[in-house]
């Protein structure tokens, strides 16, 4: 059992982030595509606990944004607290698809944009939460695909050896000889450009997953190569166990340590890949939000100059990456200190002596 505070803490925080993203429909105040055309690029709003006269309010409230935009120059807003609205927890709203529960809601004329709005007046907080579904889960699914491929290829190469091993490892070398963004671009280049959001999401997962299999497959191969000479594997073979049985029962479980650490190392890379591709317009497109295509509006200089809250999707990546890095660090440390029972330093799980 892994007992390490840092490890559990980072795993727990990551789980929290993912729950927030999965529950976007509940946590987000608005639909991600809902436009408030009267308030484009509204800044994040203040939550008031006391009014202008200094009187404390039991229920915090938000004020409306009134546009003061000139003909030229950036959007400007002032708060109009004569049109305020109290914040309420756990509200039920009516929408086209029936009634929904939301964590926050207002009951007045004012709308709440805690993280500001974008060029169409869409709520950034809602888009951030829904975008996390795309970005974080593209990372997770692509990693699963990479690792699955890596396990398959590495397992075959390591176990059967000879020309299969050579062929697969030369293939992996070709994949690793390319810088990763170039590789990503190369694979992306030959796939359809304009697709529905669902297709382009799975396309993206496929592209990212296909580019990441080389490194895990080499590591898996290494583990299998040294594990297949171990006594209990020879014994199993001696008793007439089939290849499939030996691989499944004895060899692949040995790779669980490598797989776990590789997963934690790969996930942030895959998330970054999704963000990069979507940022450059090669990933998931409008109106679906992802952290990458939300950042894309910063490619216009006037947005970059005037609206700092458009950086928020990028800033959201930092804690996610830090947590994954911390998790990877503590996992690596854990597996480094765990030696296999015959003394060879395998990056594998410690297994009790197999009794056959």
């Amino acid at each position: 059992m892994i007992t390490n505070t840092k490890l559990w803490l980072s795993a727990l925080s990551l789980a929290f982030v993912h729950v927030a993203v999965v529950g976007a429909a509940f946590f987000a105040p608005y639909d991600p595509a809902e436009q408030h055309r009267d308030v484009p690029f509204a800044p994040p709003m203040r939550v008031h606990f006391a009014d202008a006269e200094g009187k404390l309010h039991l229920r915090p409230y938000v004020c409306s944004w009134i546009s003061q935009t000139q003909d030229v120059g950036p959007e400007r807003y002032v708060e109009d607290c004569s049109r305020a609205a109290s914040l309420r927890f756990l509200v039920r709203t009516q929408s086209a698809s029936g009634s929904e529960w939301h964590l926050f809601g207002t009951d007045g004329p004012a709308r709440m944009f805690f993280l500001g709005t974008d060029d169409y007046g869409r709520d950034q907080l809602s888009r951030l939460l829904y975008g996390g579904q795309v970005s974080l889960f593209a990372g997770l699914l692509a990693t699963a695909l990479s690792l699955g491929l890596g396990l398959l290829m590495g397992g075959i190469a390591g176990y059967f050896g000879s020309w299969l091993d050579d062929a697969i490892m030369r293939g992996a070398e070709v994949f690793m000889a390319l810088p990763w963004i170039y590789l990503l671009f190369a694979v992306r280049a030959f796939l359809p450009l304009h697709d529905g959001p669902r297709q382009s999401f799975f396309l993206l997962v496929g592209v990212i997953g296909l580019t990441g299999w080389a490194r895990p497959s080499r590591l898996v191969r290494g583990v299998i190569l040294s594990a297949k000479e171990r006594d209990f594997v020879r014994a199993a073979r001696g008793f007439g166990a089939s290849n499939a049985y030996i691989l499944r029962r004895h060899l692949l479980p040995e790779t669980s340590g490598v797989m776990l650490t590789q997963a934690v190392l790969l996930i942030p890379q895959c998330i970054l890949a999704e963000v990069t591709l979507s940022f450059l317009g090669l990933g998931v497109g409008e109106p679906v939000s992802s952290w990458g295509n939300m950042l894309a509006s910063l490619q216009k200089y006037y947005v970059l100059q005037s609206y700092w809250w458009m950086f928020l999707p990028g800033l959201a990546l930092i804690p996610v990456f830090l947590l994954y890095n911390a998790l990877a660090d503590s996992l690596l440390r854990h597996f480094k200190t765990t030696r296999s029972h015959d003394g060879t330093q395998l990056m594998g799980r410690q297994k009790p002596q197999e009794a056959l």
Partner: protein, 317 residues
Amino acid sequence: MMRFLANRLARTAFTLLGVSVLAFILIDLAPGEYFQDMRLNPQISRETVAALRVEYGLDQALPLKYARWLRSVSRGELGYSFAYNCPVWPLLETRIANTLILTITALVCSWLIAIPLGVWMASRAGRWEDRVSGLGNTFLLGTPDILIALGLLAFALRVTWLPTGGMHAPLADGNLNDLALHLILPVLALVAGMLPILVRHVRSAMLDVLRAPFIAAARGHGVPRGRLLFGHALPAAANPLISLFGLSVGVLLSGSLLIEVVMGWPGVGPLLLQAILERDPHIVVAAVLFSTLFLTSGSVLADIFLYVADPRIRVES
């Protein structure tokens, strides 16, 4: 040494061939091509499009297309761009030069900063200086390149004296001061992305060496601190770092593609992105081959350095 180099060269050629074959298979499998959009245009007749396809050899079978491309490579043209209607190499030539200017500057800068910083952190291991810079390092490692580049651009827009994109001011082609000024932002962005990885490795390699008995002995003999760290410890810690050099080329090349697009640097990146959006396959293949070649030369260079630096490797081979 010569045999080793020849071996590496053969392997590189094999890899390039593999990449190009793979790319051509992918192109063939891919739906859509350059002339697809033309078919939607009512002013262009079906026959014209068909004639164009024949002219550019798009109607041929895959092996024929590949053979045609190989012949064009042997003439030094690297294929033909449909969008620009000219051979690929003249298009790519200046772009590659620009990318190399950016990448190599960033490579030199990041190593020049990383080595002293990493050595210093290792020599202060466990103290507050090491902790603070380690924390900064971790944060920089967790910050995506896109965000760093966009942040730097926003900063440049605010201070106004820094150029916010491109490679030259208008009418200032070939002015080195101007080029240096334009290099600042993209190089800063690249270095900020590369530095935390390098510093981490330099620090941990140095830490391993500093624990060795010969360092204690040297310290006991009164070797001054600077010479102890850079004269005795650093050469002993060099091997893993030299291998890292090859890897860092790839990371920087990837980073530079993104930063070129964000900061408008006229390198391979923007051309490649545009070629993907326009379905101009030969440019994509050529750009990808260039990146492979550059990355492999980085690792060959690292191997040569290793050969020069480590007598054990020289004796073995």
